[in-house]
């Protein structure tokens, strides 16, 4: 079967999406990056190969996320795209008339405004990561609640308490304070959901015209408490897509498919599943060429240098053909 692969290497998770020629999802993977993106990428490749054996032929690969460049070097990618374009592409494929995308991931949150199927504006969080997945994870852990149950517990609250949500550290100390005052856990969780939504709307979505249909995606969309808080605050229904947690990877796969169909005579750069078996290592050193002291990252495949980046001037990155 001919298919297209999308890989989204994020700070918290590395996601894979395998789609067929009609854009239908064949397989999705959600792997914790755990600070080791190379391992996460090669593990994902192995899992897909084990799952499908020789039944699939990869026709194109797209990568996205903060580790898109790294993934592109290891796997061999036809399209390397930023997260915003990838998320929008995945969402448009499922909801062609979407006008607003709220996306909250592990360490960043963004808003994408679309009109007539085209992205017209976007914003990402700049100052603070309060309200992103990592923070919710940590708070759930602290309260001894599995993150999967976070939302449902919050929904039980009838009397949410007000949490200061401007800054992750202050939100945490405010929560501890409220706990000590004797507030119920569900009221604190609901209060936290509301605080995060307020923070998101005030910072990320500031000045943007939020029109329905509104789609909520990214890992945090699994949290029904946050979804509900958005609905209450915006006064509109919020759609959570089926593959909300791998939308970046899905978008990358869709963009790879689109690119290959527009360039029929180009063969995919995919290096094959054997790439996963090779040993990939990353090394870094500080360049002493000027006071900038750039940190240069070198990627090796079976001890052979295959990519290098991190320099401002191009002295290192341009001396190797990728």
């Amino acid at each position: 079967m001919r298919c297209y692969l999308g890989i989204d290497v994020g700070s918290v998770s590395t996601n894979f999406a395998l789609i067929d020629e009609d854009g239908q999802m064949l397989k999705k993977l959600y792997i914790r990056t755990a600070g080791k993106p190379i391992e996460a990428i090669t593990n994902g490749l192995k899992m897909i190969q084990e799952n499908f054996k020789d039944n699939i032929e990869i026709m194109g690969v797209g990568t996205t996320g903060s580790g898109r460049k790294l993934a592109a070097v290891i796997v061999g990618a036809d399209v390397v795209k930023n997260e915003i374009t990838a998320h929008a592409a995945a969402c448009i494929a499922e909801y062609p008339n979407v006008q607003t995308i709220l996306e909250i991931g592990g360490q960043d949150s963004k808003i994408i405004i679309l009109r007539n199927g085209v992205v017209v504006d976007f914003a990402m969080n700049t100052v603070c990561a309060a309200g992103t997945g990592s923070f919710l994870d940590r708070q759930a852990q602290r309260l001894g609640i599995p993150i999967e149950q976070f939302g449902d517990i919050a929904l039980r609250s009838k009397n949410p308490t007000r949490i200061a949500g401007r800054c992750a550290v202050f939100a945490e100390s405010d929560m501890i304070h409220k706990q000590q005052m004797g507030y119920k856990v569900e009221d604190i969780l609901k209060g936290l959901c509301q605080a995060l939504v307020r923070n998101y709307l005030a910072n990320v979505a500031k000045g943007k015209e939020i029109k329905p249909p509104v789609v909520f995606q990214g890992g945090v969309a699994a949290n029904s408490g946050i979804k509900k808080a958005f609905e209450e605050e915006l006064g509109v229904d919020i759609i959570v897509p089926k593959y909300f947690d791998v939308m970046g990877a899905l978008g990358a796969a869709i963009l790879a498919k689109k690119f290959m169909s527009q360039n029929k005579y180009i063969k995919t750069k995919f290096l094959g599943f054997e790439a996963a078996l090779r040993e990939h290592t990353a090394e870094s050193f500080e360049c002493q060429g000027c006071p900038n002291l750039c940190e240069i990252i070198q990627i090796y495949e079976d001890k052979k240098l295959i990519a290098r980046w991190g320099d401002r001037c191009g002295r290192w990155s341009e001396s190797i053909a990728v």
Binding site: K81, N82, V118, T126, L293
Partner: protein
């Protein structure tokens, strides 16, 4: 006397030329680097904007190299920059440096004052010598601006990655070295020839983006993370709202030499910002309107964190963008700006523009990467 001054893009070339032609010893601070930033941030108030921090870092590095006279620009507010020279003087004094600081206030009506200062620095009373040094410096500023415009239009279509920048680097050195106007003319011819020889991709359709906002973040590549080069690599022709020669004209020349176009430009901001808000706040808005009228595909609005004039402009951006149907992205920069984050936003903005063009039928193919 060993004179130094802060960096702002290519400004050091004309300044160095001016003083050296008048036989004043000049110590140009090392190019802005992480070290400059660290030194500046360490001794600056945290809430001051980035230009104060970086220029303070420049001064510290130059003083350590033996400079004893600092030349700094002043200002008349509401932008805080006008007060920075005073703040920096106090900080440097507290650090124990011995130096003399000369602040050049904008000469609107104070032409004599600036002339007096120049006489003092150069220790010359001969107007003719000063005039010819200033003329050479001015010609260099003009040539550098022409060069920048040329580089920005060639870089997005160059066939060999990095070739334009190599020619650019060499050209800047040559311009800096030129001792007379005749020499500069022949340097100019050589540069233009080399630029025209760079191989260009014929089938590439670049998009056009205007760069507006706070002057220092626009002109200093270290601060804006080389935004012009980054956009060039993404296939974008960049035009800046501010060029060095315009800054010199606005700030160091008497106002009757300012061209009329500037007033016409400001009129474009009329429905949004009616009065002077400091810095280039009003110009930013006017230029967005101008770029839209000129058929640009988008505008990027740059400002350092806590920049007051540009915050005023920023609040008007959504309306201007809507009224004139042009996408505008605001980027706020400071010492905490992460390069990857900025790159992601730039790529996304370029994608947004390309898709818009595809949709209207002006653009055919999704480019690789």
């Amino acid at each position: 006397m060993k004179v130094t001054f802060p960096h702002m893009g290519n400004l050091y070339i004309p300044l160095k030329t001016f003083f050296e032609t008048l036989e004043v010893e000049v110590i140009v601070p090392p190019p802005c680097s992480k070290k400059t930033l660290e030194l500046g941030c360490k001794y600056s108030p945290e809430f001051a904007c980035l230009p104060l921090k970086i220029t303070l870092g420049n001064f510290i590095e130059a003083l350590n190299m033996g400079a004893d006279t600092i030349i700094m620009a002043g200002g008349i507010g509401p932008c805080r920059f006008g007060y920075y020279a005073e703040v920096q003087r106090e900080i440097l004094k507290d650090l124990g440096y011995k130096f003399n600081m000369i602040v050049l206030e904008p000469p609107k009506g104070h032409l004599l004052d600036i002339m007096k200062k120049v006489f003092h620095i150069t220790n010359k009373k001969n107007i003719k010598e000063i005039y010819s040094a200033a003329k050479l410096a001015w010609e260099k500023a003009l040539l550098l601006d022409r060069l920048d415009k040329m580089v920005n239009s060639i870089r997005p279509v160059e066939l060999m990655k990095g070739e334009t920048d190599r020619v650019y680097k060499q050209a800047k050195q040559q311009i800096s070295m030129a001792k007379t106007e005749q020499e500069l003319t022949s340097v100019q011819q050589q540069i233009f020839k080399r630029m025209s020889k760079i191989k260009k991709a014929k089938d590439k359709v670049p998009i056009k983006i205007g760069l507006v906002g706070e002057i220092y973040t626009i002109l200093e590549p270290f601060v804006n993370l080389n935004i012009e080069r980054q956009l060039g690599e993404l296939g974008v022709i960049v035009e800046r709202g501010i060029y060095i020669s315009e800054w010199i004209r606005d700030n160091l020349f008497p106002s009757f030499l300012n061209p009329k176009e500037h007033i016409e430009l400001l009129n474009l901001a009329e429905p949004y910002i009616r009065c002077f808000v400091g810095g280039h706040g009003r110009e930013s808005i006017a230029q967005i309107v101008k770029y839209s009228k000129e058929g640009f595909d988008g505008v990027i609005h740059l400002l350092p964190l806590t920049c007051m004039p540009e915050i005023v402009a920023k609040s008007a951006v959504p309306l201007v963008s809507k009224d004139h149907n042009i996408p505008v992205m605001t980027l706020v920069l400071d010492e905490h700006s992460a390069e990857t984050g900025v790159r992601t936003r730039l790529e996304a903005f370029v994608d947004l523009i390309r898709h818009r063009k595809e949709e209207t039928g002006n653009y055919a193919l999704l480019p690789r990467n």
